[in-house]
Amino acid sequence: MPVKSIRQSLLLAGLVMVGFAGPALADGTVIIPDVIELSGAGAVSGTNWRDGAMMAVNEINAAGGILGKKIEMQHFDTQSNPGVSRAQVQKALDLEPYVILGPIFSGSVKVNMALSQAAEIPQIVGAEAAEITQAGNPYVFRTAFGQQFSMPKIANYVRDGIKAKTIAVLWVNNDFGKGGRDAFTKEMAKRDIKVVADVSTEQGQADFSADVVKIKAANPDAVFVYSNEEEDARFIKEARKQGLSMPMIGETTLLSQKVIDLAGEAANGVQGHVSLSADAPIPSIQAYAEKFKKTYGYGSDHNGIKGYTAVYLVKYITEKMGKFDSKLFAQTLHGLTVTPEQTPGILMEASWDANGDIDRASFLAEVINGKQKITKILPKLGSK
C-alpha cells in the first residue's frame, strides 16, 4: 500500500509540473491568433475559415507584411465546444495579440468575447447570432450578416420571389439553428406568411424520413431549411427521395458548395439568399475562389471568404492608423466603410456600424446543374 501511494503521489507531482510553455515571440512580427472550430460539429466551417485566413496571411507576408511586420498566425482548435473555446481565447490573449480572429460558433463567441473585451483586444468573429453585437461590447466585429439582417432578406424573397402563403421550417436544434428559426418565424409573422410545420431536428441527425413525412402532410408552399452542411445535404436527399415538390429555400449554408458536393443531383433547384458566396459574379471573388481551389484542392465556402477578408481588414485598418494599437483599431473600425479600391483583399465593399455589425451587398441564388448560380445581387442595406 505505501509503495503504491508513493507512485501515485510521484506521478501526480510530475504531471502537475508539466508546463504550459507558450511560444516565444519574435520581433518584427505581429501576433494575430485564430481561435477556430477545427474539430467537432463546426469543423467544416472552421477549416474553410482557417484556410481562407492563411491564404491572406501568406499573401500579405509575401508582400512585406503589415507596416513592415510579418503576421504570425497560430490556430487554436475550440473543438466546437464553448468551454474549450474560452480556454483557447485565454491562451491567445496570453500571447499579447494585436487582434483575435474567430470563432464561428455563436455559443463559443458568447463565452469568450467578454475576455477579449476585458483585455481590450478586438475580436473579429464568424458568428451570426443576433445578440452578439447587441451586448454593447465595443471589441467584437462580424465578418458576415447577423441573423437580424439576413432573415429579413430571405423573408422578402419568400414573399416576393416565391410568393408563398404558407411555409414549413426545418431547423437544427442548436444555438445557430434555433436563433435562425426564431428570427425567421418572426419575419414570417410580419409578412403574414403562415408557418404550417415547425420541425426541430438534431445535430448529426442521419435519418430525415419522418421529418419529410411531417412536412409533406402540412403541404406548405415552400420549405425553409436551416441546418449544418451535412444535415442539410441529408435532408435534401430524403426530400427528393420522397418526392417533396415545393421549393426548398435556404440561407447561405443550404446553398454552400459543401452541401452541393454532399447532396449531388438532389441539390439542384434549391434556392435562397446567400450573404457571401465564392460563386458570386464579382471578378475579385472569382479570382479568390480560383486561387483557393488551386492552393487547397477544394472549393471555398462563405467561411473561407470570411477568414480571408478578416485578415485584409486588419491590414487595412492598421495601415490607415499607421501603427499597431488594438484599442484605436476598435474605435477606427466602428462606422467605417472599406472598399476593394482601398484594399483589394476585402473583395466587396463592406461597412461596420457602431455595434460591430457588417453591411454588404448579398445575393439571391439557385443551384443549377450542381453549381450555385447567383440570380440577383441585393444592394447593401444602408444604400437603400
Binding site: P2, I6, L11, L12, A13, M17, F76, P82, R86, K178
Partner: protein, 335 residues
C-alpha cells in the same frame, strides 16, 4: 522500512500540493484556467470513482449531475442567493436525484445499468434544452458571476483557481474520511461480492443508493463550480460526451484508487492541451494514447504502477525466501 515509506509518501503528497499552490507563479492565465478546469472536473471524477471504483456501480449519468449543479447555481444567482447557499443546494438536489436514480441500480447491474444512466443523461439534456422557460434552452445562460466569499473576490483567474483548489481539497478530505468509515468498507464489500456483503448484515440496498447519491452529489458540486468558472452554460456541454470523459478520467486514472481520478482528470483535461503541438493530429494522438493505455493497462495508470510495485515486492520476497531457504539448507538439522 515501513515508517520510511510512510514519510516519503507524505513528502510526495506535500510536494504535489506545493506544486499546485505555486503554479500561479509560473503559469499564465491560460494555464491557470486549465488547472482550474482540472480541479473542477476532478471533483466530479472523485464522485464517479466512489460510485464506480468503490461501490462498483457504473454510471453514464455523471455529466447530468454536473449540469444539474451548474444550472442550479446559474438559475439561483439572479435571485441574489449567496453562492455558498446555491453550492449546497446544488449538492443536495443532485444527492436527491441521484438517490432516486439509484433505484434502477438496485435491479440492474453493469452494462444494463449503463444504459439506464445513459437514458437519464439524454433525458436531462432534453429538459435543459427544451424547457426554455426555466433553463434558457439551447442559448444557455451567459454572464454567470464569480462569487465573493466572505469579502474575498474570486473574479480574477488566480483567486478562482485557489477557490477551486480549496473546494477540491474539501471534497477530497470528506471522501478520505468516508472511505475509512464503515460506509467506505461497506462500499467495497458491495463491489467485491454483494451476496456475501448481504450475508454479513450489510444493508446492500441502502448502501447502493447512498453510493449513487453521494457520487451524484459530488457531480453537482463540480457543476456548481463549473458555472462560475466558464461563466456560461448551455445544454450540450452536459451531454453524453462529458459523461464518457468523466468515465475515462476514472478508468484511465485507475478505478478504485484514491488518487486515480486526480491523475485521470489530468490526462483528460491537460493531455489534449499538451498535445496541441501536433496541430491537426492532436486529437488523433490523444485517442491513440488512450487506446494503447487501455489495451496494455486496463486497470489504469495507477493500476500499472500498482502492478509494478507488486511485481517488485514479489521478486524481493522470493529472493528473500530463496536466501533464507539456502541458509536453512546449510544448517544441519539436529535431531
Amino acid at each position: 522500512m515501513k515508517t520510511l515509506l510512510k514519510y516519503a509518501q507524505v513528502a510526495l503528497v506535500v510536494l504535489a500540493i506545493a506544486a499546485l499552490l505555486a503554479a500561479p507563479l509560473v503559469l499564465k492565465p491560460y494555464g491557470i484556467f486549465v488547472l482550474s478546469q482540472w480541479a473542477v472536473m476532478a471533483i466530479a471524477a472523485v464522485g464517479l470513482n466512489l460510485t464506480l471504483g468503490y461501490a462498483g456501480q457504473i454510471s453514464l449519468a455523471q455529466a447530468s449531475f454536473v449540469g444539474i449543479g451548474a444550472y442550479t447555481v446559474a438559475l439561483l444567482q439572479p435571485f441574489g442567493v449567496p453562492f455558498a447557499l446555491a453550492f449546497v443546494a446544488a449538492g443536495l438536489l443532485s444527492f436527491a436525484i441521484g438517490w432516486v436514480l439509484g433505484y434502477p441500480a438496485l435491479r440492474v447491474q453493469h452494462h444494463y445499468l449503463a444504459f439506464v444512466t445513459l437514458a437519464f443523461t439524454t433525458l436531462v439534456f432534453l429538459v435543459m434544452r427544451n424547457e426554455e422557460w426555466l433553463t434558457g434552452g439551447i442559448y444557455g445562460i451567459s454572464n454567470i458571476k464569480r462569487p465573493i466569499i466572505l469579502g474575498w473576490s474570486t473574479v480574477k483567474p488566480v483567486p478562482f483557481y485557489y477557490f477551486a483548489l480549496g473546494m477540491l481539497a474539501l471534497v477530497t478530505a470528506i471522501v478520505w474520511w468516508l472511505l475509512r468509515s464503515p460506509w467506505g468498507r461497506a462500499f467495497t464489500a458491495l463491489r467485491e461480492n454483494p451476496i456475501r456483503a448481504l450475508s454479513l448484515g450489510i444493508d446492500t440496498r441502502r448502501y447502493t443508493l447512498f453510493a449513487f447519491a453521494f457520487g451524484s452529489a459530488l457531480g453537482g458540486l463540480s457543476g456548481a463550480m463549473h458555472a462560475p468558472l466558464v461563466q456560461f452554460i448551455e445544454p450540450t456541454s452536459f451531454g453524453l460526451s462529458l459523461s464518457l470523459t468523466l468515465l475515462l478520467m476514472v478508468i484511465v486514472g485507475g478505478s478504485g484508487y484514491f488518487l486515480g481520478p486526480f491523475v485521470g482528470a489530468l490526462v483528460a483535461v491537460i493531455m489534449p492541451e499538451w498535445l496541441r503541438f501536433a496541430d491537426g493530429l492532436y486529437l488523433i494522438a490523444y485517442a491513440l494514447l488512450v487506446l494503447l493505455l487501455m489495451t496494455f493497462c486496463p486497470s489504469g495508470i495507477l493500476g500499472l504502477f500498482g502492478r509494478l510495485a507488486n511485481l517488485i515486492e514479489t521478486r524481493a520476497a522470493s529472493a528473500r525466501r530463496q536466501s533464507l531457504s539456502a541458509k536453512l539448507d546449510q544448517k544441519p538439522v539436529s535431531s
